[in-house]
């Protein structure tokens, strides 16, 4: 209700300064005032009674001067004393009996209203209504002339000149404020339409509607006013019906979103490697996006306060007038940039919407609506398997979706595939409900921590940092009770720590025990708060925080089961019954749109024969996993490179200047075709509207196009400053290395000042993005490959074309759906609900439905996970975050699928533990082939820890929060490691500081992280190109090892916490 509360202070008195300019207030006694008023009125009426209304300008001036004085007196008048009926002041009584205002207004109208007088009258009335000490609008003598004046403003031939729009909206706003105070006025307004305006026309309303999407104060005032009408009419069936049936309010609001959307930047310039979602600070500076978000928020607010009739209609219009015709095609654009932008927008919208009804519409659109035969959900799912930023943005969107804890979503995404229980062996079905009572599963997860990542492999010299474990335990507020001394370290926990630090030999005092009053210091000695133990040491405090993981797991599970408490079924393998559950769509076999593009990247060039379809290679994954580290299935290679090339199609351009620190050439040409199709979509909308609706043109916000063109987002310099012509790269590999180092040093989020570029973009171009670098390397790879052999391309290219064409083909919105819905206002769009779920979204090509299949979401996540070693750090953080989000769900079907490591699945079903096992093998193989792996690992850990710590520290005071649900979003991942990195762009300076801090260690150690990273692997005589590729490969792998280890702890903690969690009773809090 923030909207409404914001409105209330805007009462009278607010603009006293302006009124004082009109005339001096009359402070005399009421009788004198009445005499003065009467005097003025006699003179005015003398003029009014003149024969010729179009009299001299002297007449006009006289009337205006007198009217000014009169209305000022009226506004100043106090209500009379006495009972209910007699509370009119004497002036007001005179105004009513003599019908003063009506006569004045009619005189003006007869005379022909020039803009000057029109403006003056608007201001007069606004002053009168805003300032009056007595309620005026319930008097017909005031209301009628007001409506006459407004009616004149609504007349087509007179209308309201641009210059007067402000006055008009202000007046309307004022009227709505008074109306909100005295709801009876609404009824009067509703009934007292001027005759020529037709029956029951809520004039105020139709005058305000065109301003809905305006930017600036005028738009805000109009929206505020409309919202007041909405709130006031929430219980008035008649008005609500009028709004729904006779006004353009809902269509204008919803299709206006479409218009505003079309002016959003089609490409989001991204600097930070980690950028994957629009945060408030990203879009606050983008005028067109602010405009859109204002309107969306307004929709949200209307739905919150309006009558159910209006609410239902608006929700339907949003679906059929915005989501389906505009958002749908936008999500299916063929250029990667646009996919990224539209996905990020959708994510932002989902996070901003708070009203359940509106959220439902968005979800229904995503889950049920079919665009080109595929649901939006299917389309979004395929994007996860892409290589680029698109993957991260898509993961970000799914994180948002998962955080809604929506049963319908989870059903479509995962649960419907698990419901028939065909993925488990028949004998195992009973085990679905079992929890990890004795830590078996947890143990299994932890046992997958690669040998090379175990702490014991660290040399003792690195162990002096004491893990924050003690500090955390002892610092917990729960242990502050004075009655009992703080429980000091129990020996078993102490042992737990020591084992970690000394490799298990508890007889030798570990180095950490040199710290005074360390936990060893006797069980009865309570620690003082200033004990050194409480100061968290530098660096490695995330390392051993298993307790933290447990705590997080508990919170995650608790919140999730709380949020799921009203689901329709427990999903425990019995309810809904596996036998009656409809068979989910089977796995696609050769659907190109669902093809996986593993992020493999391999220097093994033997994989020319790209004979298998990508989908197949994915499902064969079990056999290929763990075969050899980092050696991707070569057959994907050709295809994948093509993919990258396509992804890069538009961005690619020769850049020469960047390495000298000057900005690259201008932006890539805007894609005209997109503009056209947006336009088309909009045209489609308005065209259809004219069919089923009153044919008033949809007011398109006039400011939107204007503000979009100079938009920073589209104008920003080239997004990927790291791009350079290959020749240059080849000639100076060391430069690349240097740049990578400086990239780490500067941190992706460096950069100062008010850049609008998300990710806190910096204007000095030296920061090379890892991602850009990855892609560049792939381009180079491709060139190398091209040179070496030109074969094997054809097929891949053909396939690729298919993919592209597939996503290119978009159709204008089908009119039928819209029409159908318009006729049946308030109803659900028919034809979608009935068929859904029965038709496979993936267009299965004759695969037997009996083959167990856990659904595209799980498949794509597992495929991505299996590929962890090659994923970028940020992809891995997002990916593991989503999986642990999934693992928080208390539904036994899902829980057992992810976390029960004893479960026996059907052979065709890959389990999480299998995937993790293969990643483990790859990491260990990698570590074995790099002798300096431990050192690199340690440095990577330090870097991440330092980076996260700095960021973590600033969460509370002025941290992120603006988006409403951001809190839960942001914290969805383990704080110790993960999403801090994702948020660091918040404060570029701090991120930089963190990086420097981290690298200070590194430098002291005599070698930089990157020189360490780069040293490995590349054989003598290797080309610079290979060196770079190897460097990146090493870097990804080392970071992967860190994330993987933490992820396993997280999963173990989740498995343990599930065993001790208590369900919430259903419907406990109806008020929630």
């Amino acid at each position: 209700m923030s909207w409404l509360s914001r409105l209330t202070p805007r009462g009278p008195g607010n603009r006293s300064s302006r009124t004082s300019a009109l005339s001096s207030p009359c402070t005399a006694d009421p009788e004198t005032c009445l005499m003065v008023f009467d005097n003025h009125w006699r003179q005015v009426s003398w003029v009014l009674e003149q024969r010729d209304p179009s009299g001299s300008s002297d007449d006009l001036t006289a009337v205006r001067n007198h009217t000014d004085q009169m209305l000022c007196l009226l506004a100043e008048e106090r209500p009379g004393e006495g009972g209910e009926g007699a509370d009119m002041g004497p002036i007001l009584r005179l105004v009513v009996t003599e019908n003063v205002l009506e006569r004045v207004v009619q005189w003006h109208l007869r005379r022909g209203l020039d803009p000057d007088s029109q403006g003056a009258l608007l201001k007069l009335f606004e002053m009168l209504i805003g300032q009056s000490h007595q309620p005026l609008l319930q008097h017909k003598a005031v209301l009628q002339p007001l409506l006459s004046l407004l009616g004149a403003c609504a007349e087509p031939q007179l209308g309201c000149p641009l210059s007067l729009e402000n006055s008009l909206v202000l007046l309307l706003n004022q009227v709505c404020v008074s109306m909100a105070r005295a709801p009876a006025v609404l009824e009067l307004l509703f009934r007292t339409g001027p005759a020529q305006q037709g029956p029951t026309n809520l004039l105020i309303f139709s005058l305000l509607v065109p301003f809905i999407h305006r930017d600036g104060a005028i738009g805000q005032q109009a929206r505020d006013a409309l919202l007041l009408v909405m709130a006031t009419s929430a219980s008035n069936q008649g008005v609500a019906r009028y709004i729904a049936e006779n006004s353009y309010f809902c269509p204008v609001l919803a299709t206006g979103l479409s218009a505003l959307y079309s002016s959003l930047p089609r490409k989001i310039e991204v600097r930070g490697d980690d950028w994957h979602a629009l945060r408030r600070e990203d879009w606050m500076g983008v005028a067109s996006l602010v405009l859109f978000m204002n309107s969306l928020e307004f929709c949200n607010a209307v739905i919150q306060v309006a009558h159910p009739l209006v609410r239902g209609q608006l929700v339907d219009y949003v679906h059929n007038g915005f989501l389906v015709p505009v958002m749908g095609p936008a999500l299916h654009k063929s250029s990667v940039d646009e996919m990224i932008a539209s996905t990020a927008y959708l994510d932002l919208f989902l996070r901003s919407v708070t009203e359940t009804a509106l959220l439902k519409t968005f979800l229904r659109f995503i889950l049920v609506h079919r665009h080109d035969n595929d649901t939006i959900l299917d389309t979004l799912l395929t994007r996860i398997s892409s290589n680029s930023r698109l993957c991260m943005v898509s993961l970000g969107l799914f994180r948002t979706l998962l955080s809604l804890n929506c049963e319908d979503l989870m059903l479509q995404l995962v649960l419907r595939y698990l419901l028939p229980c065909t993925h488990v062996m028949l004998s195992q079905r009973r085990a679905v409900r079992e929890t990890d009572l004795y830590g078996k599963s947890a143990d299994k997860f932890l046992s997958l921590i690669p040998e090379c990542c175990r702490l014991s492999t660290l040399p003792p010299a690195d162990r002096e940092e004491e893990p924050a474990f003690w500090g955390k335990v002892l610092n917990s507020p729960g242990s502050e009770s004075p009655a009992h001394p703080k429980p000091s370290t129990p020996s078993r926990l102490a042992l737990f720590m020591r084992q970690q630090s000394t490799g298990g030999n508890s007889s030798t005092p570990p180095p950490m025990e040199t710290v005074p009053s360390s936990p060893r210091g006797g069980p009865s000695a309570p620690l003082s708060p200033d004990s050194p133990i409480h100061t968290v040491p530098e660096g490695l405090d995330w390392e051993s925080g298993y307790l933290e993981y447990l705590r997080d797991a508990r919170r995650g599970i608790e919140l999730c089961s709380w949020a799921c408490r009203n689901w329709s079924a427990p999903y425990d393998g019995e309810d809904p019954s596996p036998n009656t559950a409809p068979l989910p769509p089977p796995a696609p076999t050769s659907n190109p749109s669902l093809a996986m593009f593993p992020e493999h990247f391999s220097f093994q060039q033997g994989g020319g024969g790209s004979g298998t379809s990508p989908g197949q290679s994915l499902f064969n994954g079990t056999s290929s996993t763990g075969r050899e580290d980092g050696r991707a299935d070569g057959r994907d290679g050709g295809m994948e490179v093509k993919k990258v090339k396509r992804d890069l199609g538009e961005q690619w351009k020769p850049v020469g200047a960047e390495q000298n620190g000057t900005a690259g050439p201008g932006p890539p040409p805007a894609c005209g075709s997109l503009l056209a199709s947006y336009g088309e979509a909009n045209r489609g909308v308005s065209g259809e509207r004219s069919g089923g609706l009153p044919s008033q043109p949809v007011p398109v916000p006039s400011s939107a196009p204007r503000s979009s063109s100079p938009d920073m987002l589209t104008r920003a310099p080239d997004p990927s400053p790291g791009w350079g012509p290959p020749e240059e790269m080849l000639s100076s590999p060391s430069e690349v290395v240097e740049r990578l180092i400086s990239e780490l040093l500067d941190g992706p989020g460096q950069g100062e000042g008010g850049q609008i570029v998300p990710g806190g973009g910096d204007s000095n171009i030296q920061g090379i993005s890892i991602e850009a670098f990855t892609q560049e390397l792939r381009e180079l790879e491709e060139r190398v490959r091209d040179r070496d052999r030109g074969r094997g391309e054809g097929r891949a290219a053909r396939l690729q074309e298919d993919v592209t064409r597939d996503s290119l083909s978009e159709e204008p919105p089908t009119p039928s759906a819209l029409d159908a819905d318009l006729t049946g206002a308030g109803g659900e769009p028919r034809g979608e609900t009935s068929a859904m779920g029965l038709v496979s979204p993936a267009r299965p090509l004759g695969q037997p439905a009996s083959q167990p299949y856990t659904g595209p979401f799980m498949v794509v996540l597992f495929a991505k996970l299996e590929n962890m070693l090659q994923n970028s750090l940020y992809v891995n953080i997002l990916l593991t975050g989503i999986l642990s989000q999934l693992a928080c769900y208390p539904q036994p079907l899902l829980r057992s699928f992810l976390l029960n490591t004893n479960m026996v699945f059907q052979p065709s079903v890959k389990s999480l533990i299998q995937v993790l096992g293969s990643v483990k093998n790859r990491i260990e193989a990698f570590a074995a082939s790099h002798e300096d792996f431990p050192a690199m690992l340690r440095k990577a850990q330090r870097y991440l820890a330092a980076r996260s710590k700095v960021d973590w520290a600033d969460t509370s005071p002025m941290g992120v929060p603006p988006l409403r649900r951001s809190d839960s979003l942001v914290k969805s991942r383990k704080p110790s490691l993960g999403d801090l990195i994702l948020r660091h762009t918040n404060s570029p300076t701090r991120a930089r500081h963190a990086a420097q801090l981290a690298l200070a260690h590194v430098r002291d150690g005599g070698q930089s992280l990157h020189s360490a990273l780069f040293r490995g692997g590349s054989g003598g005589g290797a080309s610079g190109l290979e060196k770079q590729a190897e460097a990146l490969r090493v870097k990804n792998a080392v970071y992967c090892a860190v994330v993987f280890t933490e992820f396993l702890k997280e999963l173990a903690a989740l498995a343990q916490e599930h065993a001790v969690s208590m369900p919430f009773p259903k419907n406990q809090d109806p008020e929630e």
Binding site: L359, D408, S456, S476, S491, R492, R555, S568, P576, E828
Partner: protein
């Protein structure tokens, strides 16, 4: 429900006592067993150096203590979920392996009996023997040792099988023995013989024993532990408010106030597996 709350809700007399006497729960989460025993030699045996060296190459082995505590916590959660009639338990502050309990007998020979007991769980749980149940005051019962107060649990759980046997079953058994008297191989032969030969005398002995137990109800707990169950006479100044709080208490996630506006989203009609199958009108608006 917070396990402790459950106990509090049910045994009001205990609760307030508890709340005042006990220190706030250590470390994280109220639900957890006390993580860290204090001032006492923990009953949990730390992994011995020998086992440590054996598991040296498995870091995960060092998570062992977590497994034990979580196993016991999971057992405790199961107890709560079982909602055993008239039985309340509370793990000790000092060790997760020691649980304090009280059992209310509501009818039968032992009607009105309120028996406090302690459960001792072997430290190699769940691979060891079955847990022991010892009554604070030896109840006159064929299966209760007249000297130590220990209940013969082992006859019901000859071999403790993980995954099949749970502590709630032991508690259930401890309750059942008071309703179905078994005199085979008794720990208290006198009681057994009396029950078989002279039920009237047995009954009067039982009544005596119940009286004795109840007369010691307000005694200090036998074991000094902040979480030991202790009774006190009803004191309206203290207990009324506590009772009120228990009845009005609603469990919420610990920090659900932040960032959980939209929740419980579901438009699935019960019995259906189709999204958005719920009738629009039936939804609360």
């Amino acid at each position: 429900i917070n396990p402790y709350d459950y106990e509090e809700q049910s045994v009001q007399q205990i609760a307030e006592q508890q709340q005042r006497a006990s220190p706030s729960r250590p470390s994280f989460g109220k639900k957890q067993l006390p993580t860290i025993p204090k001032n006492t030699a923990p009953i949990t045996k730390p992994a011995s150096p020998a086992t440590t060296t054996q598991s040296i190459n498995g870091t995960h082995a060092s998570y062992g203590p977590f497994y034990l505590e979580y196993s016991l916590l999971a057992e405790f959660t199961l107890v709560i979920k079982q909602k055993l009639p008239g039985i309340y338990v509370q793990p000790s502050y000092k060790s997760a392996l020691m649980w304090f309990g009280v059992i209310f007998i509501r009818h039968g020979l032992y009607q009105d009996g309120v028996f406090k007991f302690t459960v001792y769980i072997p430290d190699n749980y769940p691979d060891g023997e079955c847990p022991r149940v010892v009554f604070d005051i030896p109840v006159f019962h064929p299966l209760v040792d007249p000297v130590s107060g220990e209940l013969d649990v082992r006859r019901a759980f000859t071999k403790w099988r993980r995954n099949h046997n749970h502590i709630w079953q032991v508690l259930m058994y401890a309750r059942t023995v008071f309703y179905k008297i078994n005199t085979m191989e008794p720990l208290n032969p006198e009681a057994a013989v009396l029950y078989d030969k002279d039920v009237q005398l047995f009954k009067s002995k039982v009544v005596e024993s119940v009286k004795l137990c109840n007369s010691h109800l307000f005694d200090q707990p036998k074991i000094d532990d902040p979480y030991a169950i202790s009774f006190s006479p009803w004191n309206p100044a203290v207990h009324d408010e506590a009772k009120e709080r228990m009845f009005t208490h609603k469990r919420r996630p610990e920090d659900h106030h932040k960032g959980l506006q939209v929740s419980g989203l579901s438009w699935v009609k019960p019995g259906s597996t189709q999204p958005f199958s719920k009738d629009e009108n039936s939804q609360q608006s």
